[in-house]
């Protein structure tokens, strides 16, 4: 099996999985979930198997078909996409285990539909990760939006449907309204949309127009949640927690920042953008988002909404890092995708576990919960520390690289933002942790409960462990992303 076979397999496996889940769903939940797990495992094995080839400098390619001359559906593996794909496929396994616990524990309806669309979302994610041109990226970007809609609207009651409408509305509006024109502009200006090392727009689009195009891309990719197009993310929190965990902490939002980063690196070209003053606004927009989203998070009472705003802020770290436009910062951006993924998925898992076990969703209810759910809250603490960027968690590593990049270019805005947001992060996470461990449980605090079902606990423990492990053993990842340097400079 050659490397390019792995590419189409990566797309096909989740699709096959979806069909399998549909069929198995008719027979029974156990078989259905086995199919999910098997698919997830196969996908991860397939994707991870590509890493050695990539490290060896290979860049496998695969062209599915040519829609019209100049517009192809084609794939190509490069370090950034590889990282994203490996992350998403790997976490899918963990998330699937968690889902089993969560969905059963909650007695959700329409579980088969849930698993099917989950698999479809993963297929779309793989497409985004491996896309070799803007058109393909857009295709799968939209597919991801559409396939996650049923997941968000899963509950089907009025509020959920309304929120799901906001979700879909914002994502489609931005993508059709800004991203598509931007892509077409790019195709027209550059004669194509192939992701090319060093960018393709140099000499084609210059000056203020470049800033405008950048804006169309950044805001067009609504999934990156740069303010003011972040509102879909809190809205999406009506989804079941596994969805929030994998999709709205990892796959979907990362697809956004990943796309931004990829477009900055491979379409605009870091050098070209750096030399164009009109693109500097991106940095400020990202900084603004980080600070404001953190402030908003500070005022949230609902745990999942707090996490959502935290995600908004964290995503802009990636954008900020990319916008610093220095090689080290780009590496930091890519690593932050990983670090934040581990941390945030842990946090969501924990939130979901709390909900399954105790039906609690508000911050005020969490006092003293650490004693009832020690595993969960330990994991939560680790995740929160990673968000703040305290060693020995993964969050520290990425922040370090971003700061290094910022210092390299004496970018004080970035430095200041990072410091400020660290303070803010600490300000909203530490009280929760403190209350959970040392607070006193309210007397009328509802039913007696212990830990969540074991698959959920297993999953969150695992991701918490990953967060710490990433601090200790981040070498391979950095090694992988160092390859980006070739593309950047």
């Amino acid at each position: 099996m050659s490397a390019s076979d792995s590419i189409w397999l990566a797309l096909l496996l989740p699709l096959l999985g979806a069909v399998g889940i549909l069929l198995a769903g008719r027979i029974g939940p156990n078989l259905r979930e086995s199919v999910t797990l098997v698919t997830a495992g196969a996908l991860a094995w397939n994707v991870w198997g590509l890493i050695p080839a990539l490290m060896a400098g290979e860049r496998p390619e695969f062209t599915l078909l040519q829609v019209v001359p100049g517009i192809e559906i084609a794939f190509k593996i490069e370090p950034l996409g590889m990282l994203f794909a490996a992350l998403a496929s790997g976490l899918w396994i963990v998330n699937s285990i968690y889902s089993i616990g969560y969905m059963r524990g909650n007695n959700e309806k329409n579980q088969t539909r849930f698993y099917i669309f989950f698999a479809l979302s993963l297929a779309a994610t793989m497409g985004i990760a491996f896309a070799s041109n803007l058109f393909t990226l857009f295709l799968f970007y939209e597919a991801l939006t559409l396939s996650t809609y049923p997941l968000v609207a899963h509950k089907g009651d009025r509020d959920t449907v309304n929120s799901a409408r906001v979700y879909l509305g914002i994502l489609l509006t931005t993508s059709i309204g800004l991203l598509l024109p931007a892509i077409i502009w790019t195709y027209l200006a550059a004669g194509g949309g192939e992701f090319t090392a060093g960018g393709i727009l140099e000499g084609k689009v210059e000056g203020p127009a470049l800033g405008l195009l950048l804006g169309m891309f950044v805001f067009g990719i609504g999934k990156a949640a740069v303010m003011p197009v972040h509102r879909w993310l809190p809205a999406a929190m009506v989804a079941p927690t596994p969805v929030s965990a994998l999709l709205h902490a990892v796959a979907v939002v990362k697809a956004g920042v990943f796309s931004v980063t990829k477009i900055i690196i491979y379409i605009f070209g870091v050098e070209h953008l750096f030399s164009t003053p009109s693109s500097a606004w991106l940095l400020y927009a990202a900084a603004f988002t980080i600070v404001v989203a953190s402030l908003v998070a500070l005022r949230q009472q609902n745990l999942k909404r707090l996490l959502a705003y935290s995600t908004v802020a964290q995503l802009s770290y990636v954008v900020l890092a990319a916008a610093v436009l220095k090689p080290l910062a780009e590496i930091g951006a890519s690593i932050h995708i990983v670090a934040h993924a581990f941390g945030k998925i842990t946090l969501f898992f924990a939130a979901g576990a709390i909900y399954v076990a105790s039906k609690k969703t508000e911050l005020s209810q969490l006092a003293g919960i650490g004693r009832r759910m020690p595993w969960t809250m330990t994991a939560f603490t680790i995740g929160a520390l990673s968000m703040i960027g305290v060693p020995p968690t993964g969050g520290f590593v990425s922040k370090w690289y971003i700061l290094a990049g910022a210092f390299e270019s004496d970018n004080y805005v970035a430095i200041f933002t990072i410091i400020a947001s660290t303070v803010l992060n600490a300000a909203y996470f530490l009280p929760i942790i403190f209350a959970a461990w040392f607070g006193k449980e309210a007397m009328d605090g509802g039913k007696e409960h212990g830990e969540a079902p074991w698959p959920a606990v297993l999953a969150l423990t695992f991701t918490a462990a990953l967060t710490i492990l990433f601090f200790l053993f981040n070498g391979p990842v950095i090694e992988l992303e160092r390859q980006l340097l070739g593309a950047v400079s």
Binding site: L65, V67, V68, F138, L146, G156, A164, R165, L168, G177
Partner: protein, 496 residues
């Protein structure tokens, strides 16, 4: 070229036309359905064969009655007519197949042979317009198809079909008469009716005024027939109250064929002759297209009758088509023609899905279909997927034409940004109106939906065929794209 092949342009019209009296004579409605379907499929086969030979040779000519060209009536098939022939015959076949199980609810069995005869005549009329190269002959076949369409629409079970069809009749006749006036003026100045001959001789005419007025009359008349905003008022009700499969057929073809004639005349006949004609054409058409797009989409967003919603969406989609044409560039026209094709695909699929829904739902209103997706998963999935194509989600046919349209508007200078904005806004509106339905069908509950049953296979098959074609042509738009771009170059008089 075999003997039979040489006769194909004539057979394209004659086969459905002569099947009509036979269909009428058959007393058993199943038999006449079978005959109509067979004739329609046969016409489809002829259209495919014609398309192939057009791709090979660039065009076909046929002399009716063997009389030489400007004197007798000449038929001519080129890339543009081949493209539309495919749409017309294909949509007719699909809709007829679907009609087998949906029409019995709407039209009494005894009246069905007449209905199928009218259907074949509508088909023959539309094909006739497309293959002929004679200005007056277009009028005759336009009237055949128009009269037959009135009959088809009047077959709707709701009594409101009748005022709707009367309005359709009045406006259609005004349109045809305007066209006739225009042709009369041209004939007065050139002495000929053959389109090629007109093009050749119009250059020798010194006086501009009558030709200018002729251009006006022909354009307005055809705009009426093509339901170009604001002359679209007949369309929503006619589509809404027609029998469902008739809506499928008409939405896919009738206005498109009028657009075809409109483009032909304006680009081939008038543009080379009248000074600044393209500019005037654009100035008239562009704002109207934009209004059509915005108004049509906006009304569709607030319409709760599903068929009328899609009908208003058609008004908007016609706006896209005319928008592309009003750019007067090869890219714009290509986009426009391609959108004719793709919109036909998407709309037939959507209306077919509605026909499936109508089997179980008494009133096709949005509030009546809550939760129906559970009972009719295949139908709603088809609706959803076709809706994606209408919105223009990548991977579907709708995306390809929208891509070309946006590309073309970018080329058209500073105004382009505004146009792109309009296209984008209306695409979003399309998201809204399609999604309202999808959301309701999947996430709401009503009592009526609980008793619903999945539509019969004979309805689902054509529906899904249309849906899959949307995806096929979204991924492999080769043939329609080639036809549209060579038609566009042909219209603009450039060598490909």
């Amino acid at each position: 070229m075999t003997a039979l092949q040489a006769h194909l342009p004539a057979l394209q019209v004659v086969v459905p036309m002569l099947s009509a009296p036979l269909a009428m004579l058959l007393r058993e409605h199943r038999l006449s359905w079978a005959l109509a379907t067979a004739a329609s499929l046969c016409a489809f086969a002829i259209a495919i064969s014609l398309t192939l030979s057009v791709i090979d040779t660039g065009g076909m000519r046929y002399l009716m009655g063997s009389w030489p060209a400007p004197f007798g009536i000449e038929l001519g098939v080129d890339a543009m007519s081949a493209l539309l022939l495919l749409i017309v015959t294909g949509a007719s076949s699909l809709a007829l197949i679907a009609g087998a199980s949906s029409l019995d609810r709407e039209i009494e069995v005894e009246r069905q042979p007449l209905f199928y005869a009218a259907w074949l005549l509508a088909l023959a009329g539309l094909c006739g317009i497309l293959v002929t190269a004679d200005a007056f002959n277009i009028f005759v076949f336009m009237e055949i198809s128009a009269l037959a369409s009135y009959v088809l629409v009047a077959g709707g079970p709701d009594r409101r079909a009748l005022p709707a069809v009367f309005k359709y009749l009045v406006m259609g006749t005004i349109g045809a008469t305007f066209y006739l006036i225009g042709v009369g003026l041209i004939y007065l100045m050139t002495g000929t009716l053959n389109l090629d001959d007109i093009v050749y001789r119009i250059g020798e005419v010194a006086e501009v005024k009558p030709i200018l007025i002729a251009a006006g009359f022909i354009s307005v008349g055809l705009a009426l027939k093509a339901a170009i905003f604001p002359l679209h008022v007949w369309l929503p009700n006619a589509y809404t109250f027609a029998p469902h499969v008739v809506t499928v057929f008409l939405a896919a073809c009738s206005t498109k064929v009028a657009l075809y004639v409109l483009l032909r005349f304006n680009f081939v006949v008038f543009k080379p002759y009248l000074e600044d004609h393209d500019l005037k054409f654009a100035i008239f058409l562009l704002p109207l297209s934009l209004l059509a797009i915005l108004v049509g989409s906006a009304v569709a967003m607030f319409e709760s009758n599903l068929k009328r919603m899609l009908a208003w969406s058609s008004v908007a989609q016609i706006g896209y088509i005319t928008l592309g044409a009003s750019l007067v560039s090869v890219a714009g026209l290509t986009a426009s023609l391609l959108h004719i094709f793709n919109h036909a695909l998407a709309k037939s699929a959507l209306f077919l899905a509605l026909a499936c829904l109508a089997i179980s739902v008494s009133k096709l209103r949005i509030e009546n279909i809550g939760g129906i997706a559970k009972r009719m998963p295949w139908t709603m999935a088809a609706f959803l997927l076709a809706g994606l194509s209408l919105i223009g989600v990548p991977g579907t046919a709708g995306f390809v034409s929208k891509w070309y349209l946006i590309t073309a508007t970018f080329d058209s200078g500073p105004l382009g940004i505004l146009l792109v904005a309009v296209i984008v806004v209306s695409s979003l509106m399309a998201v809204v109106y399609i999604w309202r339905v999808v959301e309701c069908a999947y996430f709401r509950e009503t009592d009526e939906a609980q008793s619903a049953r999945e539509a019969p296979l004979m309805l689902l098959l054509p529906t899904w065929a249309a849906v899959l074609l949307n995806f096929y042509f979204g991924l492999f738009p080769g043939v329609p794209l080639e036809l549209s771009s060579s038609a566009a170059t042909l219209l603009l008089g450039q060598t490909p």
